[in-house]
């Protein structure tokens, strides 16, 4: 398709110079102006950028600007962004995401894609639907997720059981502000995984055998082997407000000796209990891990909307233009936590992002279905 002539080769050198110049300018800006501040592209700037980019659809592919939509430019830009991401993926605390060269390369990719689309549309064929799904979808996704992220509002809100809260803490600045949404927390509840039983070394708290600890689940009637001990759980105490505890009976397989007694992992006001095996080792219980936590809430908006529901991890609640996520709780108190922390997100670009995702997903199916070049 792209049978590039000698002059095409020369102009590609020009395009490469432009790309390199822009990336170097990015580095210069980085030194002069510091990290890229995404808020400068917040509404209406991002919408203006979008309008200008859409105008590029009208540019003639053979002109100086239009040639920036060639596959060679795409390849070059993809290689540059991949190198930047390699740096981002290896070096800790790299700051690539908020650096000017990265942001400028991202913009160049968007410009390149829109020019590529413009070029193809001039020779529109229905059978190119795979190309359109992938590239238009990717453009919508990259634009909305990238430039749209500047319009994202995000707050943490801590609500006590039985109370109502209007104020949210801006996740970036830490500022406390009144929000157009209020949450009333009726109940916070949590299910735990059964705690586990282990033998630990009293000198350093390490689980036995060191390196690959042997743990046993504790529920009524459970049994298992830890080292030379065969352990059976006789009964369990486990209810809200009380630290989980297990009455265990352990038999030594070598000398037939038995040990029995209560062990408990303790909690915020009861201390832990262990059962000594020797001067060094003892039976102990690990802290139970949360399995599921959720908040029963009622949500009000300034516009008069009222909605009640249960919010849990992976299951946010939508109220007007806000989405409310279960974020955290008082980890010292665990299931007896008296408050729940929510994350409130308002993302005006959510729908375009999903449209982009759906289009690229359909495009991925065409890759799968049509296969490679023939």
């Amino acid at each position: 398709m792209d049978r590039e002539s000698k002059s095409g080769q020369k102009t590609f050198i020009n395009e490469r110079i432009i790309i390199i110049a822009i990336v170097i300018a990015g580095f210069a800006l980085q030194i002069a102006a510091g990290p890229f501040d995404y808020s400068i592209i917040s509404f209406p700037v991002n919408v203006i950028v979008l309008a200008v980019m859409l105008l590029l659809l009208l540019v003639k592919p053979s002109g100086a600007t239009g040639r920036f939509g060639s596959a060679k430019v795409s390849l070059c830009l993809l290689a540059i962004i991949t190198l930047m991401c390699l740096y981002m993926g290896i070096v800790a605390n790299n700051g690539v995401k908020t650096s000017w060269p990265f942001v400028l390369t991202y913009l160049l990719i968007l410009i390149n894609i829109i020019l590529v689309i413009g070029k193809r549309i001039r020779q529109f064929k229905w059978k190119d639907y795979g190309f359109y799904l992938n590239h238009i979808g990717l453009f919508i996704f990259l634009f909305s997720a990238g430039l749209g992220s500047a319009d994202l509002q995000r707050y943490f809100m801590r609500v006590y059981e039985g109370k109502v809260e209007w104020r949210g803490e801006n996740t970036k600045t830490g500022e406390l502000t009144d929000l157009p949404v209020a949450i009333s927390l009726e109940d916070f509840s949590m299910d735990m995984y059964p705690p586990k039983i282990a033998i630990i070394d009293k000198r350093n708290g390490e689980t036995f055998p060191a390196g690959k600890p042997s743990l046993m689940e504790s529920f009524e009637g459970s049994s298992g082997n830890i080292g030379e001990w065969s352990v059976k759980v006789d009964s369990i105490k486990d209810r809200p407000g009380v630290a989980p505890a297990a009455y265990i009976i352990a038999k030594n397989k070598n000398d037939g000796g038995t040990l029995a007694g209560w062990i408990s992992c303790g909690n915020y006001f009861q201390s832990f209990k262990t059962l000594d095996v020797s001067d060094i080792y003892c039976f102990a219980m690990t802290y139970p891990e949360p399995k599921r936590f959720s908040s029963k809430v009622e949500v009000f908006t300034k516009r008069g909307l009222k909605k009640s529901g249960i919010i849990e991890v992976n299951d946010p609640l939508t109220a007007g233009s806000w989405k409310i996520y279960q974020y955290s709780y008082d980890s010292n108190m665990g299931r007896d936590s008296e408050y729940s922390v929510f994350e409130l997100v308002r993302d005006p670009w959510l729908i375009p992002v999903y449209i982009g995702i759906i289009m690229v997903m359909a495009g991925a199916v065409t890759l799968f279905w049509k296969g490679g070049r023939k």
């Binding site: 991401c85 993926g89 946010p316 996520y325 995702i357 279905w369 490679g372």
Partner: protein, 257 residues
């Protein structure tokens, strides 16, 4: 219906699948292999539906249930891909991998949940992981093909180009689908589709290197030269899959448990 009956359904399905694969290779009949594989799938699906009904919720909560679906979808997708591209080895491969998961479920059912942290308990968990593993399988096969061609020379191996490209296209299709499902999941769990978390950065690097491969011919790079991208891209893929937690950038990543 409960897990005690799983072994019967599993064994029947496995027998159908293996004889089905055997029939694909050995039998002259056009439909025998297909019929056997589909019957195996129906038996397996029957167990899933019955289990679903008796549990009262979709079997997606525990590790054991996750693996149950995984074993099913692996064979289903393997079969659909086989129907489309007629790669018998792929059918055999997906049946073999599925068997491994079935055996794990029989030996160590983990039906009382091992501690799956709340963020992982999502309907996206199974498809996200399944699709990635399928993609890795395809791209792994494409890499083997590329190495063979690079090693033996291109002239005698023309047919390989088409096979390699097909595998990369299918593999990249799955890879992109897996990434996007991950993005939708992350949005549901954390309110953000993409945070450039180290695992996400590496997933992007991997996808970008395969994008480089499929766009190379459009930029006038010869098929033979662009083959060199594939072994490199596969090394990046392996880092994404297995190596991220060892990198300095990954300390504090949400994907490292």
């Amino acid at each position: 219906m409960n897990w005690n009956e799983f072994i019967f359904f599993a064994l029947i399905s496995i027998v159908f699948w293996y004889t089905g694969v055997l029939a694909l290779y050995k039998s002259k009949s056009k439909w025998l292999g297909d019929a056997l594989i589909i019957t195996g799938l129906l038996v397996f699906a029957g167990f899933i539906v019955a289990l679903w009904q008796s549990l009262g919720h979709p079997p997606m909560k525990t590790m054991g249930e996750t693996r149950l679906l995984y074993s099913f979808f692996l064979v289903l997708v393997g079969y659909v891909t086989y129907r489309r591209w007629r790669y018998k080895w792929l059918m055999a491969y997906s049946v073999a991998v599925s068997t491994v998961f079935i055996i794990i479920n029989l030996i160590k059912p983990e039906i009382h949940t091992t501690n799956l942290m709340p963020a992982l308990q999502s309907i996206w968990f199974v498809p996200h992981v399944t699709v990635y593993i399928l993609s890795y399988a395809m791209l792994g096969a494409a890499t083997i093909g590329a190495v063979i061609v690079l090693y033996k020379g291109t002239e005698k191996r023309m047919g390989y180009f088409e096979l390699i490209d097909n595998l990369v296209y299918i593999g990249l299709g799955f890879l992109i689908a897996g990434m996007l499902m991950g993005a939708v999941w992350a949005k549901e769990a954390w309110g953000d589709y993409w945070t450039w978390d180290p695992k996400e950065v590496w997933a992007f690097i991997t996808a970008a290197s395969y994008m480089l491969y499929i766009h190379a011919p459009k930029a006038g790079i010869s098929g033979k030269k662009s083959l060199w991208i594939l072994p490199l891209a596969f090394i990046l893929l392996l880092i994404t899959w297995l190596g991220v937690s060892y990198l300095p950038a990954a300390q504090g990543s949400i994907h490292v448990y």
